[in-house]
Subunit: 255 residues, 2 copies
Amino acid sequence: MTNAASSLNISGMRQKTAAIVVIGNEILTGKSEDKNASFLIGEMYRLGVALRRIVVIPDDVEAIARAVRECSEGFDYVFTSGGVGPTHDDVTIEGVARAFDREVTRHPELEAMLRGYFGEGIDAARLRMADAPDGSELIRGVDMRWPVLAVNNVFVLPGVPELFRKKFESIRERFRAEPFHAHTLYTREEEFDIAPRLDQVAAAHPEVDIGSYPTFTRDDYRVKITIESKEQAAVERARDELLNLLDAALLAQVD
Amino acid sequence: MTNAASSLNISGMRQKTAAIVVIGNEILTGKSEDKNASFLIGEMYRLGVALRRIVVIPDDVEAIARAVRECSEGFDYVFTSGGVGPTHDDVTIEGVARAFDREVTRHPELEAMLRGYFGEGIDAARLRMADAPDGSELIRGVDMRWPVLAVNNVFVLPGVPELFRKKFESIRERFRAEPFHAHTLYTREEEFDIAPRLDQVAAAHPEVDIGSYPTFTRDDYRVKITIESKEQAAVERARDELLNLLDAALLAQVD
């Protein structure tokens, strides 16, 4: 299912990467709030998959084709959200097909399922749900009537949040990888003041991802520092080194 | 400030477009929830600017350079969020500079402001806030001590939500355009059943953006239909035509 090179992090550990392509004018105009990317962010993290890009684009075949092609080439897994219904603004199937230079044809297995569900008097709008890029794979998830459509490393999911979630959950376990390990420190020192020490630890531990996030609205701390890696020992080494360098009297919390 | 062609919609009305580039590992790993893109979605819509892309990427110079370059070429305005602090993971300035093949140098006016604020004993971490791509513009907003940095059509904003909001609000009025006009219909008909009628109205009114959004969790309606354009009369024509075609007995609400 993977046509993209897995990213090799500095310590040589191969890491699976993912991208989310959210399709929908309604998100870009604020008519609906995104719930699917924000759901998948948490799922990817808990699965140990490194999410590297989220892109939100309009219901436009060419924009979808370009985003899907780029993400498919750059990352191991691509999840699309939205644009798979029966109306004129549902053009994700056409966009994904164009990303891979394929035709859209009626998928015989999907057609049979739809005819079984809606009966033989099924109309064109309902039958359109059997349209798929040539050579699509149907993934039968756990506890789901309808399969998830996949083309190469691209998984096509619906925009309706309840359905998106159910469909993703039905195929979730196939993405499980080594977990991330993380620690978080909170300090009352100023970010400007700790910057040289953070730089020093970050440079000494390239295999660890260190983040620094100031806040100006809290009384209990001024900077949240996150330390993360797939290697537990590396996270602990970086955390201990940082704890040695930070002012213990101004340390608010260590998680 | 604009190096991108404004998009010309089908009725020939020139429309300003925008993109948002959110920079931050913390968003992609779920350590922080995005608040800036979601804030800007509403602002752009109310300003009458067509938001065409949101992209969330890691703290990576090359990823930032590529996203900023693409968005700057494709849209009238680009807003970046995040990565402008004093620590090792703040690489937005370098990324924006690389997008336009410029060097990062110390901006004399920013340096003078920082020295005035922090005093002459200012350290390297604080002075780093004066680093900017060569030829950056400083935009002095309303009621703000610090200006907004802009390079061509790219506006560089901080990731901390309170600061992002304040800085954007200080320059907001320069983006104001013709407003969008929209109506929303709610029907208890099935989306499959109304699809042919929606297609018909959408095809007859290419200058109007018609969206169809089913729900499976509400009792009061099954599909929300949005009708939108910069031309009020066009929206009303499309709405009236659609109202004639929909089953009046199953119409739940018209806004």
